[in-house]
Structures are given as structure tokens and as C-alpha cells.
């Protein structure tokens, strides 16, 4: 029997970014799904090699506007890993604070968009209304609502003003109350239950097979979190839990994100309390980074983000590799979207909180005949030898 194909995108009313799905359907049921990406590719890895380390941080911050702490944080971890640079305790707490605030804002953003995707705009307006104080906190701490520019090799760029810690804690209390209200409402909501329960199930086996990370994996019962597995910054000094649920459907992903928000609030409060007493510098002056390679990992709101930096003793990275969490989470669509109705497909696609800006690190070039452009390395090498030989004659 012929399968029908529904194209979604690249510009679709619901999608925030440009991406192109082809859903193969049999009647109402999705049989297979394919994804074409590359609409957001800007060539970060290439540009980063022509920038100095500090400029490179500015650049990786602009990989994604939603995880704009995670990428610089993973990058500074990688750069510090080359020389095992120590950072001051106060800077560690500030890094953790900013990272966790970002998690709160990202999870609330997702909750709102999930509501928007199922046509439940009330939830969207609510979640985004109570996300506003988080952005206000960012403005107090870093001076900007998004793109904070806080990370530097060896510490952080700005100190948290001790006079403002009390007001920050007050805002934090306010946010916690409001999110508790949303969480309670979302948990009892018949609309959310009927639209999200049992939809787009990702089994534990599939989550492991596709190497899913972050809330996507944790909602399927895989306990994976870089913050606990390989604690950096102040994560070994604060108290928090990893939230793991078993069902793997969209509702569980919502629950994991909401409960994680509370854990993040807990971490933020501990950091702010510590910042009252912990004194000292916020940045070790790093004059140069020697030749070598380093890796940096950080648990972004969507999962583990990984940066690899190779240096040659100059002031710029020779190679800068970025692997974002969505890169491994997006292929789980192949498992979770099969056999569900078309109406549920979009919320399942949105459930892993995909970020295509983070993902697209390479492009495929096609030649004039629309064939993939491939190079025979052996042939190239021989040609080069011939060329040199001719020059030497």
C-alpha cells in the first residue's frame, strides 16, 4: 500500500525555528519520520578557530540563546582542562547559580511552548509570566536578560553584588510559590492528562539505544546527569536530587522538568546563601593556555553538552568541537513517533525540547549535479605530491 507523506516545515506556524520533517502516514498513524536539518548552520566551529579564547566564548554563547550559559560553561571547562586551571570558590558558586537559573528559565519556557503546541495557550501565558522574574534576576546579576556573558577562563566576569543577594532571594521565594501553583495545576489538569499521558512513549531500552541524555533519558528511567556523575563547579558542594521517572511519555517529561525546576531553585538558594559568606576573588588571571587538548562537560537544561578544544600554545583554539544534547535526543523521534496519531506527533517532537541551533554543526555540500560532494583523500594526497614534485623541478 502506498504511504502518504506529510511535510512539516521548514516554516511552520508552530515551529519556532526552521526545520523540515517528513511524516510518513498510514491513515492517521505515523509510520515513519524523517528530518532534514541544516537550516540553522552558521559555522561556529570554523569561526571559533579564528578567534581568541575570550572571543570564542562570546561566539559559543551565541550557539543557542536558550542554553547561553551551558555552551560557554562547557567551553571554559574544556579550556581549563588543558592546563588544569583552578578557579576560586566564589566563582564556582556564581557559575552554578547562573547555570541553575538558566535551567529554571529553560524548563518554564518549554512548559509554556508545550502548552502552546497542544493548543492550550493559558498554560503558555502562565508559564511565561512566571518566567519573567527569572529573567529579571539575570538582569540584576549579569546586566542582560539573555546572553549573560558571565563565563571567563579561570572564573567569572562579574561578581554578584552582596547588597542584592537579599532581593534575589526574595524573588526566588516568589518564583517558587508561583511554580508550585503551576505544578499543582498542571498535575490536576484534565486537558494535560488526556493529551500527554501515554503519548509518545520512549521506552528505557530505546532511550539507552539512542544514547538519550537529559530529561528525555531521565523520564524513561535512565538516571544520567553530569552534575552528579562528574561534578564540576560547585555541584559537589550543594545538595540536590536527580529526578527520574519510569513511564517515558510526554507527561513524565513534563513532570521531570517541573520537579527539576524545584531542585534548581533549591540549588540557587544554597548558592545565594553561600555567596553571603564566601569571599575572595572571582577570577584567576590566566595569561596563556599551553598546547594540549581538553574536554568540557556540563549538564545543560536539555542534557549533556560536550566541548572539545585543542590548543597549540597560541591565543586561539586550533580545533573546537561542540556536541549539543539535542544531537542525540532528536533521533529518538524514530522510536517515539512510530504508531502515534498525527495530532500527537508535534507534541512528541517538541517533548525532547529539541534545539536545532545547538545541533547543526556541519553541512552537506552538493555539487552541480545535486550529488553529495565527496573527496577522495588518497587522490588529493597524490595530486599534492605531484604538485610539489613539479615545483621542485
Amino acid at each position: 500500500m502506498d504511504k502518504n507523506v506529510i511535510p512539516v516545515g521548514p516554516y511552520h506556524p508552530l515551529l519556532e525555528e526552521a526545520e523540515y520533517f517528513t511524516l510518513q502516514v498510514d491513515g492517521e498513524t505515523v509510520v515513519d519520520i524523517d528530518l532534514e536539518i541544516g537550516w540553522m548552520h552558521r559555522g561556529h566551529e570554523f569561526i571559533s578557530e579564528s578567534k581568541t579564547f575570550t572571543q570564542s566564548l562570546y561566539l559559543v554563547e551565541r550557539i543557542c540563546g536558550i542554553c547561553s550559559t551551558s555552551h560557554p560553561l562547557a567551553a571554559v571547562h574544556a579550556m581549563e582542562d588543558v592546563d588544569n586551571i583552578e578557579i576560586p570558590l566564589r566563582a564556582r558558586y556564581i557559575r552554578t547559580l547562573v547555570g541553575e537559573l538558566e535551567r529554571i528559565h529553560s524548563h518554564l519556557l518549554w512548559l509554556g511552548l508545550a502548552g502552546h503546541f497542544i493548543g492550550y495557550d493559558t498554560l503558555w501565558m502562565w508559564a511565561w509570566k512566571y518566567r519573567e522574574p527569572v529573567l529579571q534576576m539575570f538582569e540584576i546579576i549579569s546586566g542582560n536578560r539573555n546572553h549573560y556573558g558571565m563565563m571567563r577562563v579561570g572564573g567569572v566576569a562579574k561578581d554578584v553584588d552582596p547588597d542584592k543577594i537579599k532581593s534575589l532571594l526574595d524573588i526566588m521565594d516568589e518564583i517558587e510559590k508561583k511554580i508550585q501553583m503551576i505544578a499543582k495545576a498542571a498535575n490536576d489538569d484534565p486537558v494535560l492528562k488526556s493529551r500527554l499521558k501515554g503519548v509518545g512513549v520512549l521506552t528505557k531500552k530505546d532511550a539507552v539505544d539512542f544514547c538519550a541524555v537529559g530529561p528525555t533519558a531521565r523520564a524513561s528511567g535512565v538516571s544520567v546527569d553530569v552534575r552528579k556523575d562528574e561534578p564540576t563547579d560547585a555541584y559537589d558542594l550543594v545538595d540536590f536530587k536527580i529526578i527520574v521517572t519510569e513511564n517515558g511519555d510526554v507527561f513524565d517529561k513534563t513532570v521531570v522538568r517541573l520537579l527539576e525546576t524545584f531542585e534548581s531553585i533549591k540549588i540557587c538558594k544554597q548558592c545565594l546563601e553561600k555567596l553571603k559568606t564566601v569571599n575572595g576573588g572571582i577570577r584567576n588571571n590566566v595569561k596563556e593556555i599551553s598546547a594540549g587538548e581538553g574536554i568540557g562537560r556540563y549538564e545543560a537544561p536539555r542534557g549533556e553538552v560536550f566541548h572539545y578544544v585543542r590548543t597549540d600554545g597560541t591565543n586561539r583554539p586550533v580545533r573546537h568541537k561542540v556536541r549539543a544534547p539535542s544531537y542525540v535526543n532528536i533521533p529518538t523521534f524514530k522510536a517515539s513517533c512510530k504508531g502515534i496519531p498525527v495530532a500527537d506527533a508535534l507534541i512528541t517532537l517538541a517533548a525532547v525540547d529539541p534545539c536545532y541551533c545547538c545541533t547543526e554543526r556541519s553541512i552537506k555540500i552538493r555539487d552541480k549535479n545535486n550529488e553529495p560532494y565527496q573527496l577522495d583523500l588518497m587522490k588529493l594526497s597524490r595530486e599534492k605530491t605531484e604538485q610539489i614534485r613539479r615545483q621542485m623541478k
Binding site: Y58, R62, R145, H147, I363
Partner: protein, 139 residues
């Protein structure tokens, strides 16, 4: 045209087009619609189809792959349709101007009538930009 523009300025319907941005201007554009800024009280409304739009909010440096689509979408829009470039990316290319994958001249792909610089611009700046556009239309 001025008769039409005056009516258009009363309720500007915007279409959001992301042309390889970093998502940040996009979430700030969505932020405009939510209770804190709530631009619907000025008659500004986000629409799903470009055929209903009076203004296109363009964010991001336009990359080679997305450029033909952006061009196509602008051609589909009912004219007059004004294009507002949100953020530093459409204005100057931000840090991506050295990239191999961005178009060299964004004005060839889509004419941009108004720029709102900032990385990302604050929602207040975006409101001011669109209000300025409405002022020009009213004149």
C-alpha cells in the same frame, strides 16, 4: 498608499521568520505576547501565515540554505509588507559575518526596512521599533 498605511498602522499583524538565528531574539519576540509586555493591546498580533502579515519580524543572519526559503516567503506576502530586522544579526551579521555559510548581502535576499539592534534587543526596544514603524505609516 497613505490611506492604506494609516489603517494598517492601527493593527499591525506580524509574522515571525527565523533565518538561522540563535533562538534568543525568537524567544524575546514570543515574550512580547505574554502577560508582562502583552503587545496585543496595541493591536499587534502574531499570525501563522505570511499572507496575513503586515510586518515580517526577521531574526538571524540568513544562511545559504535558508535564503531561498526566505526569499520565497517574502514573495508570498501580500504587499505592502514591511520587514523588521530584529537583533544585531540582520543589522551587522554579529559574530557570524566571517562564516562560510551566511549570505554576504542580506538585502539581496529580503529588503529590510527597519533594524532593531541589540543582542538580543529588550522587548521594550522591539515595541519601540514597531511603534516607530507605525508612526512612519501614519505620517
Amino acid at each position: 498608499m497613505s490611506w492604506y498605511n494609516k489603517r494598517l498602522a492601527k493593527s499591525i499583524w506580524v509574522y515571525h521568520m527565523s533565518a538561522s538565528p540563535c533562538n534568543n531574539c525568537d524567544i524575546e519576540i514570543l515574550d512580547l505576547l505574554t502577560p508582562k509586555y502583552d503587545v496585543e493591546r496595541f493591536g499587534i498580533k502574531l499570525v501563522g501565515s505570511v499572507r496575513h502579515a503586515d510586518v515580517i519580524l526577521l531574526s538571524g543572519v540568513i544562511n545559504q540554505k535558508v535564503a531561498p526559503q526566505v526569499k520565497k516567503i517574502y514573495e508570498q506576502a501580500a504587499k505592502p509588507c514591511f520587514v523588521v530586522g530584529v537583533g544585531t544579526c540582520p543589522a551587522s551579521g554579529c559574530c557570524f559575518k566571517d562564516s562560510y555559510n551566511t549570505v554576504k548581502k542580506r538585502e539581496d535576499v529580503i529588503p529590510i526596512h527597519l533594524y532593531i539592534p541589540g543582542c538580543p534587543p529588550k522587548p521594550e526596544a522591539m515595541i519601540e521599533g514597531v511603534v516607530k514603524l507605525a508612526g512612519v505609516l501614519n505620517a
